[in-house]
């Protein structure tokens, strides 16, 4: 593909071609050329089977009974008389040798509350039985008596140990510290000025269109779990300890998954653990599907964050040192949050190299529903914080934010926040040129004075691809197999899932291209853990760059042996030499390949109502050499809009441990009317270790649009905005009482 392309017209390109012709041409064209997704027709015709579409009519229904208070001791559970065939399933049913925890990186999240509860929505038990309505009736009759304790809900309350610490004596689940250059306190003493600023971000709910659901069925000496999930192997590993059985005794089959965004990375374990125990107790298949209200009230969210910057400046406003304290609201259980916090801290320098840095991260324990993965996995919070802080520093010195930020752009060979180097070429200058030209940024910046109701803003962001450091080799150990059949078809065997991102289309495309065979000769099914090797989670923007590469290598091996009738090859991940990483000190090369992005947003604000109209969105991304322009275009559009939603309308409050927004009527995600058609650009920057030069991109495209939107909005109203989300009501408040944009920090 060309170095730059506005792919808004691809669908016009493909419109006159039949499917077969597109497929045939595909093989002779650059791999980036748009393909037709392999799942598009069955999804459009409604024949794709999501987990609630399966016929599980022989299975029992389950409903969860959950804690209604954020913190307390369970004094008594009063159950109604269970009719024959109806069951109460709780921690007491865990067999001898079994464990009451779910393995989600950490092992602190309980399968069932036992003795006490630490958050609203904590699973206490399941009511199980053949009739759905009867199960619900029985559930409503259950009375739970608590001795309530004072909860800590927000980051500040958690840090202050309100009600007494409940984790580690200080409510800090996890902590890390990074330093580069000189000691920042010493540098501060030489600075002209040292300023402090706090940037905050709120919860975000995933709103995957398909809510959570799963079914667990005993089959012989195995249990088969069907789930809407990102990571079938995670489920197996997580729930097997409940029965103290070999994970191989659990077979997980992924159903077509209606969106996930991180919300189905670990969270399905919270359904599947109790379902496994229910299937064990009853000897029958047991199914559970959440409705929307239940899903919003009782599922994981994006971590709220608070980043406190202390920045030392010389007399011209140049940054000499920066200290950042990063606080994430982890909730009651740690689960995967330490990894989220690490990624947040690694990304706090954004697309910049600063001379001296100190970063400390704190995962704060609160009596809130545990936070977990959400597209970006901790990076969006710190990237929003640094982008916003940089704008405010610039404005304080009367410098245009773009000009200020460009003083610090990181380049190939520069030092990272973990004292590694940037390995690849950083194409920010090229990307910047594309969006500046398309958006007419420079003219508009001059024309739209602060506070005149019109504003244009810009952000820079990146996303480290795959697991940190050598984690892919040391922890994940991804494997991929490819089977060649006598009839010339090949089957790709690995555990990666399709959840909307297009992976199950681009991976057959990679194999077909290497092998020089038509796409219809490549089989790639939704994973079944008994048939495929564990290739690691479908997460961390790793699937294309890591597993895609394993598929590419497997296809190369198959090609070499093509004349053999039937055989199978297996490929393993190997980390390139010469890029050390120490996981205990978080020092070295955190990521070998980053995705990079630049986003410009233009807004207009109604001076009477504070209503914001987005007039334009321009972005450019570096995802290496793209495997499919059209699929990537869809990722960009969706990620950018989700990021602006996070920064604007998506208000999710937690009041005394309860989420206040519980439906799609009061949690406001973007509609088709809210944003104009985007213009998106790409740069071609092949990544040495990715398939056909591709890198991760799915999370990157979320990471920066929120900051660009807030920059534009802030300039339009002439007020400083340091906290998101910023819905219309909040815009009004800023217009009335906010601090002027150029005021000193």
């Amino acid at each position: 593909m060309s170095a730059a392309g506005n792919c808004g017209l691809h669908c016009e390109d493909g419109c006159t071609k039949g499917e077969k012709k597109v497929v045939a041409e595909e093989l002779t064209r650059d791999i980036s050329t748009a393909m037709r997704r392999l799942d598009a027709v069955e999804k459009s015709e409604g024949t794709a089977k999501y987990v609630s579409d399966y016929d599980f009519s022989d299975c029992l229904w389950a409903r969860m009974v959950r804690s209604s208070i954020p913190r307390g001791i369970i004094k008594n559970i009063k159950l109604p008389q269970m009719p024959e065939g109806y069951y109460w399933v709780s921690a007491k049913d865990i067999p001898e040798g079994g464990h009451n925890y779910l393995h989600m990186i950490a092992t602190d999240w309980k399968c069932f509350a036992d003795g006490d509860v630490k958050y609203v929505g904590e699973t206490i038990g399941l009511v199980v039985g053949p009739d759905k309505t009867k199960v619900e009736d029985l559930r409503e009759q259950i009375e739970i008596e608590y001795e309530e304790q004072e909860p800590a809900v927000s980051i500040d309350e958690g840090v202050a140990c309100k009600g007494g610490a409940f984790i580690n004596g200080n409510n800090i689940h996890c902590h890390l510290k990074l330093e580069t250059g000189e000691n920042v306190d010493q540098v501060f003493s030489r600075c002209d000025k040292v300023v402090e600023e706090t940037i905050e971000t709120g919860y975000q709910e995933h709103i995957y269109l398909e809510t959570n659901g799963a079914c667990c069925i005993p089959e012989g000496d195995h249990y088969v779990i069907y789930a809407s999930a990102q990571c079938p192997f995670y489920i197996r590993k997580s729930v097997a300890p409940v029965l103290n059985i070999d994970p191989e005794k659990i077979i997980v089959r992924q159903a077509t998954t209606g969106g996930a965004f991180g919300g189905k990375e670990h969270f399905p374990d919270v359904l599947c653990g109790p379902l496994l125990l229910a299937a064990y107790k009853t000897g029958k298949g047991v199914k559970m599907f959440f409705d929307r209200e239940e899903d919003i009230e009782n599922s994981v969210k994006r971590h709220p964050s608070k980043v406190v910057f202390k920045t030392g400046l010389d007399k011209n406003g140049n940054i000499m040192a920066m200290d950042s304290k990063v606080y994430y609201n982890v909730g009651a259980y740690l689960a995967s949050s330490f990894v989220v916090l690490q990624r947040g801290c690694f990304h706090v320098t954004g697309c910049y190299e600063f001379p001296n840095m100190r970063t400390e991260g704190f995962g704060v324990a609160t009596n809130s529903f545990p936070s977990c993965a959400f597209r970006g996995f901790g990076a969006p919070q710190t990237l929003f914080a640094i982008e916003t802080h940089m704008c405010h520093l610039a404005e304080m010195y009367g410098v245009e934010p773009l000009e200020y930020k460009s003083r610090y752009f990181i380049k190939q060979g520069d030092n990272t926040s973990t004292n590694g180097k940037i390995v690849e070429k950083v194409m920010i200058p090229e990307m910047l040129e594309q969006v500046l030209k398309a958006s007419d940024y420079r003219r508009k910046v001059k024309e739209y004075k602060y506070g005149t109701g019109k504003g244009i803003g810009i952000s820079f962001y990146n996303h480290g691809g795959a697991f940190t450091g050598n984690g892919e080799q040391a922890i994940i150990k991804a494997k991929c197999r490819m089977h060649k059949y006598p009839d010339g078809t090949v089957e790709i065997l690995n555990g990666q899932t399709e959840m909307g991102q297009g992976f199950h289309s681009i991976i057959p495309k990679i194999a077909a291209h290497v092998l020089g065979i038509p796409l219809e000769k490549v089989i790639y099914k939704d994973p079944d853990t008994s048939r495929v090797p564990d290739s690691g989670p479908t997460a961390a923007s790793r699937s294309t760059m890591i597993v895609g590469r394993l598929v590419e290598k497997a296809a190369q091996q198959v090609k070499e042996r093509w004349n053999e009738a039937e055989f199978e090859v297996e490929t393993h991940y190997e980390h390139p030499d010469g890029y050390p990483w120490d996981q205990s000190s978080f020092q070295g090369y955190a990521y070998l390949g980053y995705g990079w992005g630049v986003c410009v947003v233009e807004v207009e604000v109604d001076p009477c109502t504070g209503e914001v109209t987005t007039k334009g969105i321009w972005s450019s991304h570096d995802g290496g050499h793209l495997i499919d322009e059209l699929i990537v275009h869809g990722q960009v559009n969706g990620g950018v809009i989700q990021g602006i939603g996070w920064a604007s309308t998506e208000v999710m409050q937690n009041v005394k441990g309860h989420f206040k927004q519980t439906s799609m009527s009061d949690y406001i995600v973007p509609t088709s009317m809210d944003y104009p058609k985007q213009e998106c650009f790409f740069v071609d920057n092949p990544y040495e270790w990715g398939p056909f030069g591709a890198k991760g991109l799915g999370e990157l495209v979320f990471n920066g649009s929120g900051a660009a939107y807030i920059d534009a909005l802030s300039r339009a109203i002439g007020k400083r905005i340091s906290s998101i989300p910023c819905p219309t009501e909040q815009v009004m408040l800023y217009m009335l009482n906010g601090k002027d944009i150029e005021e000193a920090l």
């Binding site: 808004g8 691809h10 669908c11 016009e12 493909g14 419109c15 071609k17 499917e19 748009a34 037709r36 997704r37 799942d39 598009a40 027709v41 999804k43 459009s44 015709e45 409604g46 024949t47 794709a48 999501y50 609630s52 579409d53 709103i207 995957y208 269109l209 398909e210 809510t211 998954t257 209606g258 969106g259 996930a260 965004f261 409705d291 929307r292 209200e293 959840m499 909307g500 297009g502 059209l630 699929i631 275009h633 869809g634 960009v636 559009n637 969706g638 990620g639 950018v640 809009i641 439906s663 799609m664 009527s665 995600v669 973007p670 509609t671 088709s672 009317m673 944003y675 058609k677 985007q678």
Partner: protein, 155 residues
Amino acid sequence: METKISFTLNGKKVSLSTDPLRRLLDVLREDFGCTGVKEGCSEGECGACSVMFNNKMVTPCLIPVGAANGQDIMTIEGVSKTELGQRIVQAFADGGAVQCGYCIPGMVIAAYNLLLENPDPNEEEIRLGISGNICRCTGYDLIVESIKLAAKRGR
């Protein structure tokens, strides 16, 4: 209290005895196997369950099945077999409209509803036409482009 209810479903006369207050959504999925009708929000907010009811788009999560008595209902299973429905399906596939796919049957219905009334809509009319349908994956642009493509192919 069970009542006999009859209606036309995807061109065929059907009837059943059931509680007339059951949601039409559940009856379509459970009694007639129309699992292309997706439950997204249960309150008429997301449009994932959209069906055609006497040739107008409705959300059956808000309609008691009793209200369907004697009426004409088309689900995605029926709509996708019509010329217009299939043209939309193919345009969605070519135009990159589909990601996770959960909202897509409802989106196809919304596009069908729009193009029935307005075979050549402009960008704004398309955005309005699908504004009752939430998609969390695509940011809508490629859905809008795909509907334009379907309209163009119908000319």
